[in-house]
């Protein structure tokens, strides 16, 4: 008998014939009045343990018994209405934390300005944790890009590469445009830096077009989509342009990215000119963009071609430092960068069906290519040295 369990009968001492463990019956609550609150929760464990228990009796009881709603019922309703109840203001003591004290501590530590920043940061963290942010149909996550990805890139662009930008006024303030740039540097850092530069100087996001290899690669593909990239193809390019975006494209692709160091600043073939037909179909201007400096970040002196074929990538670079120094070799060389945006090339005055005229498309492609090549030579002459 000593180890017999004591099975409580009734509602644990409160009046009425309620047979539930936490909430007395409706009759009992009517007797006891509105003061019948659920037992105080333990610290640091808000609303976890007793939530299903409080919810259940409420749904069981017929509605007409709630002449005088008890505290348990109100809580139950709040909890079933999941996220809204969580995000709306609730009394500060519900969480079990002393939030007034927290506020004071934060204010003392960081000051009023710091407190605002902490609050913003917390708000960002909450959005990320609760999934309360918006993602567009391409998977572009502007919240993450503006708060995390671009700020991470900024020191690299400003302190490491000391990017000098010219001709930003050539990027239209409104409406869509196709920014076409040269590709170089073994790793597509030039794409990321251009994206940052455009975002910082125009306040508009640059949506980039990337190869399918990017989306096949774990992490890279995920981050690329969130950073605003999508598959380089006419469907996606035209869709982005029709929606009024700034779209960045590097038509040389891997041929430009993985060319040997000896061929630096020599533009490769510009694909099949798909970007020109996309621009023609949507009638948006093409802004040529010349990037100087990216060639020197990882000077490509060799290529492990057979290993690359085995892994299924276009090339595995050998730089003076890369396989030799291991991870340290992956630090890009601090070359001085110059980025110039050229005058826009209009595509809206071509006749209908021009996009399907291969001759015309090749001509415009060559024109864009020549413009970028000439600007590259001019910029190279202006640059005093590779690193300054």
């Amino acid at each position: 008998m000593a180890d017999a369990d004591i099975i409580p009968i009734g509602s644990g001492g409160r009046p009425g014939r309620g047979n539930r463990r936490t909430t007395p019956s409706a009759a009992a609550r009517a007797l006891a009045g509105p003061a019948a609150k659920p037992p105080k929760k333990p610290k640091k464990k808000p609303t976890v343990a007793d939530e299903p228990v409080t919810e259940l009796p409420v749904t069981e009881l017929p509605a007409e018994n709630f002449a005088e709603p008890a505290a348990g019922e109100v809580r139950g309703e709040q909890e079933s209405d999941t996220s809204d109840a969580r995000t709306t203001d609730r009394p500060a003591d519900v969480g079990g934390f002393d939030f007034v004290g927290l506020e004071r501590a934060v204010r003392e530590l960081f000051g009023a300005e710091g407190e605002r920043r902490v609050a913003e940061w917390l708000a960002f963290l909450r959005r990320r944790l609760s999934g309360g942010y918006e993602v567009d149909e391409f998977g572009y996550d502007s919240d993450l890009t503006d708060q995390v990805l671009l700020p991470l890139l900024r020191p690299l662009a400003e302190k490491w590469f000391r990017v000098e930008v010219r001709g930003v006024e050539n990027i239209p303030d409104t409406g869509s445009a196709l920014i076409v740039a040269n590709h170089s540097g073994t790793m597509p850092l030039d794409g990321l830096i251009t994206q940052l530069i455009v975002a910082d100087h125009t306040g508009r996001p640059l949506r980039t077009l990337a190869a399918d290899l990017v989306f096949r690669t774990p992490f890279v593909g995920e981050l690329a989509r969130k950073g605003g990239a999508t598959l380089a193809g006419n469907d996606d390019a035209e869709r982005l342009l029709r929606q009024g975006n700034l779209v960045g494209v590097w038509p040389e692709g891997f041929k430009g990215l993985g060319k040997p160091f000896a061929e630096r600043y020599k533009l490769q073939r510009f694909g099949r000119g798909g970007f020109v037909s996309a621009a023609m179909r949507t009638g948006v201007p093409i802004v040529p963009c010349s990037i100087v400096g990216a060639e020197e970040i990882y000077p490509l002196v060799g290529n492990l071609a057979s290993l690359a074929r085995l892994v299924g990538v276009p090339y595995i670079p050998v730089t003076p430092f890369f396989p030799l120094l291991g991870p340290l070799g992956m630090v890009p060389l601090p070359s001085k960068w110059l980025i110039e945006f050229g005058e826009p090339i209009r595509t809206d005055d071509f006749p209908d069906g021009a996009a399907d005229d291969p001759m015309l498309v090749f001509n415009v492609t060559d024109q864009v290519r020549e413009t970028i090549q000439q600007t590259l030579y001019t910029l190279l002459v202006q640059r005093r040295s590779v690193f300054f």
Partner: protein, 330 residues
């Protein structure tokens, strides 16, 4: 006549059609009797894999056939081979029966956006004209492609019949029981490491409304149906407030097998690729040609579904965080 009424979607479609005063008699057809209440729907026990279905169509003078009998889960059909038989052979027999029946004037087929597959070479949005880019298709995705092939063949042979193919995004909602809802209902949600799929959902009520809309109007063609907007898989799971395990992709199929054995959810390989790369469809034609406006966006449909689940663990952490924020803002 509505096929596949033993399952929830088919039964609800049949009920919805029966409630429509402009539609006379609604005939529900399936092999097993429906579990759900069918209301005014007359149930006929017949197998669409069997030529007997032609007699049913002829005897009842059926003028409209709504084919919702494409099974998505191998488990519920009793295995993959049985599922394939129901989907492909069933559709073939049904269409053969329709072809012989002069009275049939309309065919509505509930297909799925899985016909587009999922892969890294996919465009951001699929329009109705696009062909799938991913080659390796299995399971429902392959079945749906074959079913649509037969439907196109039928439309060619019987040009007088108005054929509507509805490519629907994954249905979601409190009443839907599908691999996807089971997946989100798991206490800990496994995802593929390093990938984040874009998802689109269609609320179950919208799906049923769309089928009714297609049945009541003359709208031949193929249409993508999905709620507006896109949710990313990680975002969806965060909204559920459930913890995530991110597993490398080579363990995906073994994880799926474990999950299947634990009877938590039923995954086929095409669902794994879907949850890896995701898929989104363009719904412009849904509005302009089909003339249908879904009531729920993808996010709203997902919220409605979430309300039917118990909140998960990380949701509580977020709750705490928002409280702290409220205090800081005063």
């Amino acid at each position: 006549m509505v096929t596949g009424v033993s399952r929830d979607a088919g039964a609800r479609c049949a009920r919805r059609l029966a409630d429509d005063p402009s539609i006379g008699t609604v005939l529900g057809v399936d092999v097993v009797p429906p579990r759900a209440e069918l209301g005014r729907v007359r149930f006929v026990r017949a197998d669409i894999r069997n030529p007997v279905i032609a007699k049913v169509i002829a005897a009842e003078g059926v003028d409209t056939v709504v084919h919702t009998g494409v099974v998505a889960t191998p488990g519920s059909a009793g295995g993959r081979s049985s599922m394939k038989e129901i989907n492909v052979i069933g559709t073939m027999q049904l269409l053969a029966a329709c072809q012989k029946a002069p009275g049939v004037a309309k065919l509505v087929v509930k297909s799925s956006t899985t016909v587009y597959g999922a892969g890294p070479r996919d465009p951001a949005m699929f329009t109705e004209e696009m062909a799938p880019r991913a080659i390796h298709q299995t399971g429902l995705s392959k079945d749906a492609v074959e079913v649509e092939g037969y439907v196109r063949g039928f439309a060619r042979r019987r040009p007088d019949v108005c054929v509507t193919t509805l490519r629907m995004a994954n249905w979601i909602g409190p009443k839907t029981d599908s691999p996807i809802t089971r997946y989100f209902g798991m206490p800990v949600v496994p995802t593929v490491f390093g990938y984040d799929a874009r998802l689109q959902f269609l609320h179950e009520d919208d799906g049923i409304d769309a089928i009714r809309h297609a049945t009541a109007n003359e709208l031949p063609g193929t249409f993508n149906l999905a709620g507006d907007g896109v949710l990313v898989l990680s975002q969806a799971i965060r909204r559920l407030g459930r913890p995530v395990v991110r597993l490398p992709s080579f363990t995906a199929s073994s994880t799926a097998a474990v999950v299947r054995r634990a009877r938590l959810a039923d995954f086929s390989p095409d669902q794994i690729t879907f949850l890896t790369y995701g898929r989104a469809v363009d719904t412009t034609r849904m509005r302009t040609v089909f003339g249908f406006e879904p009531e729920y966006t993808t996010a709203a449909a997902f919220d409605d579904f979430r309300a039917s689940l118990t909140p998960g663990l990380t949701g509580r952490a977020t709750g705490l965080l928002s409280l702290g924020l409220g205090a800081l803002r005063g």
